[in-house]
Symmetry: C2
């Protein structure tokens, strides 16, 4: 247990305490209504320390927004078998959230913040953009790389929204394998297939 | 301009004013922090009138949660050509939100409310479930109807999230036609195709 009273400025965990308090506050009341003062109170530090570490509220937001899981670690090696990378991606993602309610809760907080204000949306968009592009970069076909990566993001994001954040029964209550079978080919086409319908006139 | 002061209980637009005020309040501070008193103030009515019309806060939420567009109207006739229903669905949806910033703003409010609290998530889930199932009911293959409809929902929802709510550049800045070409076949497979990869061992 840390001692009562405000932490000294140099306490090694002060920065992490600030980020924890910021994440909680942002998730609860959104970007606009979060004040540096409230975060400082939550972290039990002096507000000046937040300015010292993060500059302004936007800097604090960017530092506080992190994915619940290390995407690079989760997706390491999905390019080993490029023809099945689509299945591998959705399988790994579902594994991470199926197995850990804490990950799901942190994800919900992240999305709430990201939709709370234009500044937060921009930060979340950048975070997701970097993550998805990094995740698929060794698999994705050379044409339309960003569009392909973003399409993967729409399907994975929509699945996360439906299965975990909204809890749609038909998505929530089926085994992950069934969703991997259904969604894997979609991701595979976005990664390496033709982006136009095969039968267009 | 309506006269100043509280509306009389029987004013024909009082119910609609309450719903407008409730939507704004729910979107701003979420389900839990919204009070009947604040909604009554916003609608310029007596709080008892809200109870009269909607019972409790949950009843008010369910009545206030509506899609920005009439989904049945938007998707009318997509089953005319069942083999291209997937393309038709995404084309109609993009048309509705590309053309009207007000629709996009109302959608953002709806999703914010839906993620603000478990009660609101349940209400949004039911609303989306009914909508999607109604929209695809005449096209979807007889096996796994709910799963198929829900899969359509994940891809359409993820696209809406990326293009409009987060504004991912590769999705936001391309012509709708390009997204229709890319996503149409996905929806088509979810509606009528095999839900397993063709090449599974």
């Amino acid at each position: 247990m840390p001692p009562r009273g405000r932490r000294p400025a140099g306490a090694p965990d002060a920065r992490e305490q600030i980020l924890l308090a910021a994440r909680a506050r942002f998730a609860e009341v959104g970007f606009e209504r979060t004040t540096m003062r409230a975060v400082a109170r939550g972290a039990n530090v002096d507000p000046s320390l937040i300015h010292h570490y993060f500059g302004d509220k936007e800097g604090l937001l960017v530092a506080a927004l992190v994915l619940p899981v290390d995407a690079e670690q989760v997706l390491a090696g999905v390019d080993a078998d490029p023809a099945h990378a689509g299945e591998a991606i959705i399988e790994r993602v579902l594994g991470v959230y199926d197995s850990d309610a804490g990950n799901r809760a942190r994800l919900l907080g992240l999305v709430r913040v990201g939709l709370s204000h234009e500044v937060a949306s921009a930060a979340l968009r950048d975070l997701l953009g970097r993550t998805v592009l990094t995740a698929v970069t060794r698999v994705v076909a050379p044409d339309h790389r960003e569009l392909r990566a973003s399409l993967v993001g729409t399907q994975v994001g929509g699945m996360i929204l439906g299965r975990y954040l909204l809890g749609v029964p038909a998505l929530r209550d089926v085994p992950a394998e069934q969703l991997v079978s259904a969604v894997g080919p979609t991701l595979q086409r976005y990664l390496t297939g033709p982006l136009h319908p095969p039968s267009s006139p």
